[in-house]
Amino acid sequence: MTSIILLSVFGIINLFLGFLRSNKVLLPGAMLLLLIVFGVNLADWGQGTQSFYNSMLVVDNYTVAFTGIVVLTTLVLLPFSRSYVVAGEPNLAEYYSLLLFSLVGAVMMIGYNHLIMLFVGIEILSVSMYVLAGSSKRDARSNEAALKYFLMGAFATGILLFGVALVYGATGTFVLSELSTAVAAPANASLQPMLYIGILMMIIGIGFKVSAAPFHFWTPDVYEGTPTFFTAFMSTVVKTAGFAAFLKLLAVALPGAQGFWLPTIQAMCALTLLLGNVGAAVQTSTKRMLAYSSVSHAGYLLIGLVASRGNLTGEAASGIFFYSLAYSVATIAAFGVLKLVADHRQRDDYAGLNGLGKTNPLLAFSMTVAMLSLAGIPLTGGFFGKFFLLAAAVGQGYIGLVVFALVMSMVGLYYYLRPLIAMYLRPAEEGATPVPVDGIQTVTLALLALLSIALGIVPGFLSGIL
């Protein structure tokens, strides 16, 4: 709860700091504020369940864990904002504020205990993201991305809200715990169809936000058009918060309807894995590849939802936490490197990375660790993320789904290797100069790589905490 208040206040403070127009103040300022939020959030760990606003929001270990991921992700993303300053972007402070505000939405999505809070959280997050997607105002692609994202997103939230209304109509409550009893033992059997249509619409609405197939179609275009800095935010924070909300919805409110949603999620999972991986394999642009890869990772996380079988604690939930963290760390590093390189070389295809191993060993190393982690190769966090999720799924008997996921991760190897091939095995263009990287970016990238490796070597300290 404190983190929501702090984030809101800090967002406003940041807005007022805008008159300074100097990233030298704004960037460290924003990072410091986020660091404070991160610390305050961690202080709530192990304090039991605290409820706020008539139990509309709860803060428990689950909330703290996922809030930790989204705050940390934003914190390590900020150093890559540099080029907006170089380009003379006058509204920098507003972007920082919007990021902080959208984090408020993310935290509400994680901590909600009331369907209206879920809706409000998603809206706060999404409205900020619509603006940020179009933040490169003179770039037609960015405008296109914003418009597409807005139209699709508005539809999706509309459907979600419709679903919430139907569920309310069938059960008479918005509160998750009461929903759970009402769904498990329906008072009025004739309202069952309405309830299930409502649940399906909610799944569609959230599925859209986390870009799970078949509601992923907007992802590649929006990700590509959006400035890379904000794409990184979208593919990490939005997805992590979305999955935290998704798991909570299924596990706390709807365990009684498992027979209905389990097959649905399973089908979505298989489809997401297939479309995400095959889509990524045929791309030539690193950015689009990462967009499809984010779809495919939604697929792996959906396996966690299936394996959770309506449990907010235990292997599957811990697995989703670990996977989200490992995925976010690797994705921020990948997008960070891509942004620095693309800004300098003015291209974001694989060939744009050519020879990076020679010109910028650190960037290439960071990208390498990120790609290996996303591909799930040992020594990186991504391997244990996949391992925990898949082991939980096998433990619940979903052998077929796990085998399919393994086959798909073999496809994943192919496209995650392509940046490595470009960076190390192909020469840079004639006269290629090193990509300029400032001190704080260097430190951040090194830390992200170390964190990925640490998660891959000593996963014990964060595994099984939920």
Partner: protein
């Protein structure tokens, strides 16, 4: 504790190497690898004195999933650790002969690879084993990819995909086994991925039947066994010489070792069901590799196919499940490691002098290079398995084991000795003897630095050939134990 030092010393040196340059980097890399060899020798003496491993080390690695960081050494692991630590300094010396770009990174990757290899040989937990199995792949991918020949991009991609896909099958098998341990459905912490827990499982014959192929997929690709070998000749040819030595000298043994430790005792019924098929495949590989080797015009490619042929015999010997066959495989792992590294080094020495590996362009090199000729011949004859050399002891025991298993298979596999004499001596004749070529007069003999690499190899060739007992003695209890586990 010693085991952990053996494991992490190369890694620490590799990290340090990233911050050193030039002569300091060479000194550091070589010093660390020699120290590592010294430690391994010390471990061997300590092991011989106590008989059993006092090298066990176990930490809870991921307590929430019952996975332990469990290292240990027995006779079998120890010999492979010795082989690794013996070869790595020589491979580094061979790397010093080249002017590679960013040499420090190159040496660091070699040492990083050593950590992965030793990790594979000392892990006693399935996930730890898988972990190091993949860790060993990452540096060799970059070594072969970044410093390789013209076709390196396509070739290393194929190599990487082949091996990773193979290992994913193994991982799937391990996960299945892991979930069979413990008291059934429950939290992951109740399961165990310890090797001993896998040994204690009782699995039905049908489970073992498909588990066999899941686990064997990784080993079959790594060895490689026909028909999973297609990545091998290309990769050996395109990789820079030191990487080829790592691949053929040590990495290939990961497959044989894995089979002995993680396949035979875990799914014995699967082995008895499919063992004969694997032996047939291995024997096909022996003949196939040999026939293709005869036709090769590229020195490195010829040695690559020769290696394919020899590894087939090792695999067949392992699957014969006889004491003598397994012991033969152990000796042959050492002998083959020494032979193939020596052969690739000689090929590299010739290529550095003449700029070509194309056999028809070479010829009559022997006149100016008496020392090179002798060294080449010793390595070659050991590969052919001439008595007195390590190759003879290994192949003799392997063939004896196969003969016990099935006389016909033994007889066909025995052709390997004839075949290898054909292609290797023919190659020797065309390269070293034969009509003079453009290089006959200009080629220079081996330098002292190069002898520093070849002399230890030659010493080991004869040591293995004359006193194989030194090594057989170490591995015997481990092999006996293994067979008793298979026979249960």
């Amino acid at each position: 504790m010693l085991t952990a030092v053996l494991l992490f010393l190369p890694l620490a040196a590799a990290l340090l190497l990233l911050f050193t340059k030039g002569a300091a980097a060479r000194a550091l890399a070589l010093g660390a690898s020699l120290l590592e060899f010294g430690l391994a020798v010390y471990a061997a003496f300590a092991f011989k004195a106590t008989g059993t491993g006092s090298f066990d080390l176990s930490y809870a690695w991921i307590p929430s999933a019952g996975i332990n960081f469990h290292l240990g050494l027995d006779g079998l692991s120890l010999l492979l650790v010795l082989l690794t630590t013996f070869l790595v300094p020589l491979i580094l010396l061979a790397a010093f002969k080249h002017n590679y770009d960013s040499p420090s990174t190159f040496y660091a990757l070699v040492l990083f690879m050593q950590t992965g290899l030793i990790g594979v040989f000392v892990s006693l937990d399935a996930f730890l084993f898988y972990f190091f199995w993949e860790v060993a792949l990452i540096p060799i991918y970059f070594l072969a990819g970044a410093w390789g020949g013209e076709r390196r991009v396509a070739v290393t991609l194929k190599f990487f995909l082949y091996t990773v896909v193979g290992s994913l099958f193994m991982l799937a098998g391990f996960v299945y086994l892991y979930l069979q341990t413990g008291p059934g459905v429950g939290s992951l912490a109740q399961h165990s991925s310890e090797l001993s827990a896998f040994y204690a499982l009782t699995l039905s014959a049908s489970e073992q039947s498909w588990l066999f192929w899941l686990i064997f997929a990784a080993f079959a690709v790594k060895m490689p066994i026909f028909p999973f070998h297609t990545w091998q000749p290309d990769t050996y040819t395109e990789a820079p010489a030191p990487a080829t030595m790592l691949l053929s000298g040590i990495m290939l043994k990961m497959g044989i070792y894995g089979t002995m430790r993680w396949l035979l005792p875990v799914v014995p019924l699967g082995v008895s069901q499919w063992g004969f098929l694997v032996i047939i495949l291995a024997v096909i590989g022996i003949i196939y590799g040999a026939i293709i080797a005869i036709r090769q015009q590229d020195l490195k490619r010829l040695i690559a196919y020769s290696s394919l042929s020899h590894v087939g015999l090792m695999a067949a010997g392992v699957f014969s499940l006889t004491q003598i066959g397994l012991q033969g495989a152990v000796v042959q792992m050492l002998a083959h490691g020494v032979n193939v590294v020596g052969m690739f080094f000689v090929a590299d020495a010739i290529e550095r002098r003449t700029g070509t590996r194309h056999i028809p362009d070479l010829g009559g090199l022997t006149r100016r290079t008496p020392i090179l000729t002798v060294c080449f011949l010793v390595m070659l004859l050991s590969t052919v398995a001439l008595p007195l050399t390590g190759g003879f002891v290994g192949e003799f025991l392997l063939l004896a084991g196969l003969y016990q298993y099935n006389a016909w298979v033994g007889a066909v596999a025995g052709l390997t000795i004839i075949f290898s004499a054909v292609y290797l001596l023919r190659m020797f004749q065309r390269v070293m003897l034969g009509p003079d070529s453009a290089f006959s007069e200009t080629i220079t003999d081996l330098t002292g630095g190069e002898l520093l690499i070849l002399v230890p190899l030659i010493v080991l060739v004869f040591w293995l050939g004359l006193f194989p007992g030194t090594f057989l003695h170490l591995s015997e209890p481990a092999v006996t134990n293994l067979l008793s586990l298979v026979g249960r």
